[in-house]
């Protein structure tokens, strides 16, 4: 007996809006056409507008002489430099303040975050006040406060306030002695490198011994000893030393020394203190997310206090802390663009500000600025994804 074929034939395609696949296709087509029309309209308008204003376009302006001064640069800059050099100056200044700011903000943030969890009422209270105050005030306002109300209100150069170590603070920033290493100083770096290698070897050896015999070795303190000892030993033996060139007040200004401008200081203070408040909350959340049972289980297994933190609590807390922490780092980098408002010559100030005003190439300049931040962001998120994949909770 032949059975009639039983089965589901796929429903026949209908060219009607009741068919989800067809409907999706229509929607997308409509959206795509709308977007294309919108883009064409914008491009067309822009071309017409540019023509009407007699503006040219293109990136050739990068090889023209910039002709303006920049108050703070990491490498040689004068009025005859090109616009692409201005771009580089802005970029390096942004990276400089962001890099230092990230380190400072991380240190303050972790200290404050842990302090907020303290059993000590005064300590946790102070940490709470710090976080709730700085988090709820706009960063730009804080920058203005540091720059206009604190650093610019310092005495004039002649009445500079003397700080320890031959440093001075006045309206024009902080003047510190400039360290000048002598020719043998390279050996100190060699010593430092050797110390790091030695520490790695020591750690491996100590771990192996712990696993075989159960005897512990004070790795942390001996590492510090190695680091300081080897570096100094190499310095002493080879005769490396550092002389300091202190700032000296002459009639109008300081000579010699290293001048840290108030714009940089204000931006650094503002960025680090503000971001630290957010990092502190991230850290607190991360530590609280490790359930008490984990600590108790570690105690039940007989782990020492230090090991309990290092092997059980911190790794789990870091899994929660690191993703928001990186986004805070990214925020700090993006927020460094607020330096434009207090005259710190970072990317937005030098490039989107002065360069744009002088060349009038709005589209090219803004596109380049955005591309820089976009690249930084994408790099960070790529790193983040890699880290997440590494520490992810392995589940069935």
């Amino acid at each position: 007996m032949a059975h009639p074929k039983v089965g589901h034939s796929p429903p026949r395609r209908q060219l009607s809006l009741n068919d989800p696949a067809f409907r999706g296709f229509v929607y997308q087509a409509v959206v795509a056409v709308a977007v294309v029309v919108f883009l064409v309209w914008i491009v067309n308008n822009t071309a017409v507008n540019l023509k009407a204003q007699n503006k040219t376009s293109g990136f050739d302006f990068l090889w023209k002489t910039a002709g303006f001064d920049i108050s703070f640069t990491l490498f040689a800059w004068d009025r005859t430099s090109y616009y692409w050099q201005a771009f580089l100056v802005g970029l390096t200044n942004t990276i400089l303040v962001a890099a230092i700011g990230i380190v400072v903000a991380t240190v303050i943030g972790f200290v404050v975050g842990i302090a907020r969890l303290s059993r000590n009422f005064l300590i946790s209270g102070l940490a709470t006040v710090y976080i709730e105050t700085l988090r709820n005030i706009p960063l730009l306002l804080q920058l203005f406060f540091w720059y206009f109300a604190v650093l610019k209100a310092m005495p004039a150069v002649r009445n500079s306030i003397a700080l320890p170590f031959d440093s001075f603070i006045n309206q024009r920033g902080i003047f510190v002695p400039r360290p000048i290493p002598n020719d043998q100083f390279g050996w100190v770096w060699v010593g430092l490198g050797l110390a790091i290698v030695a520490i790695i070897v020591l750690r491996i050896w100590a771990k192996r011994r712990l696993e075989q015999t159960g005897r512990r070795f004070p790795v942390f303190f001996s590492s510090i000893g190695l680091l300081v000892g080897l570096t100094f030993l190499f310095g002493m033996v080879t005769g490396a030393n550092v002389t300091f060139d202190p700032p000296v007040l002459n009639r109008f200004n300081f000579e010699g020394g290293l001048d840290i401008p108030p714009e940089f200081l204000a931006l650094l203070f503002g960025l680090s203190l503000y971001t630290a408040a957010f990092i502190a909350e991230t850290v607190r959340g991360g530590i609280l997310s490790v359930s008490h049972g984990q600590s108790e289980a570690a105690q039940a297994l007989g782990l020492q206090d230090g090991d309990r933190l290092r092997l059980v609590v911190v790794p789990q807390a870091m899994r929660v802390i690191v993703p928001p922490l990186t986004s805070q780092y990214l925020n700090l980098t993006k927020n460094s663009s607020l330096g434009a408002a207090i005259g710190y010559p970072e990317l937005v100030n030098v490039f989107t500000g002065t360069t744009l005003n002088q060349t009038g190439r709005a589209i090219e300049v803004i596109a380049m600025t955005m591309a820089v931040y976009l690249t930084l962001s994408l790099l960070t998120s790529a790193l983040m994804n890699w880290y997440n994949a590494r520490v992810k909770l392995v589940e069935r």
Partner: protein, 374 residues
Amino acid sequence: MSKFAFVRRELAPSLPPPVRNTGLIVWVHRRLFATPGDTLLTVLAGLFLLWAVPPLWGFLVGNAVPPGGTVEQCRVENVGACWAYIASEIEFFIYGFYPMDEYWRPNVVFALFGVLAALLLMPKVPYKVPSAIGFFILLPIISIVLLLGGSFGLKPVPTEQWGGLLVTLILSVVGICCSVPLAILLALGRQSKLPIIKTLCISFIELVRAVPLITVLFMASIMLPLFMPQGTTVDKLLRALVGVTLFEAAYLAEVIRGGMQAIGRGQYEAGQALGLGYWKRMGFIVLPQALKHVIPGIVGNFISLFKDTSLVYIVGMKDLLEAVKTKNDALEWAAPTQAVTGYVFAAAVFWIFCFSMSRYSLFWERRLNTGHKR
């Protein structure tokens, strides 16, 4: 003979009273002096407070010149905050260059906003739908008519004359109200199965999130006029609004997407099983749960939007911060503590708004905590 081997014949000695674990002394011991390390920290923190609080008190209250004081009082040596300066310029800080005779118009808008917001925000007050209509539809219309003027015999006041807290509040309220629907659409688009829509939403969100707000504002203020047909002028305030809204929508979209991802697959499938279409499924099943999950994140975004509105200063808008800065640079009230006083005032205003928002979100979080946490 008794069958019991032991019978107690005298009273048992009374046990010592239990160690107190409540009360002031125990609290002080436990929270301040539990260990030698704690004691050290307490002493250090106490010394810090002794060092910091008296000068702060002296600056804010003790040596301060109260409202109504004169410039000369603010110019003496070691003077505290010059509150007289704030009091005399308060109208500029609130209204900017808005004509003085027309202050009642912003005042009516402030009052309406306050009443409607209170009606919406207090959970016990009934009539949520009428107040929502009032807040989201009537209030914007009334505000535009009243503030701009030019109709009903009102004197026209161009947006160039608006300033101070008025502009800050307009930017943030409009930014909040416009970015939420946009963010929901973007989040839905990012989760959508239609490739073109998904790609568009992802690229928009990632591009905007990757760049600082300043560049978006620069783009809105410099490039928006270039994008428009010749002859159209876009109001400066409107440009800033567009920039702030687009920027905030991208951030908010990611928060909402996080909430949507926390909703189990079963919820989507249950909606499908009930025969609901896409919009009904999203609107009645997924979004209400998703938004509830991410209230802290959403309010956090509102707070950062409110703070971010201060950035419009850089593209030349006149908000509260700009008003304070302008008056700080003016010579009329020039005094040693003028700048600090101005910034402390502005900081206090921003702080009050942000802090109350975060407390309000905490309140809702507790209220909506319908048993997701153990």
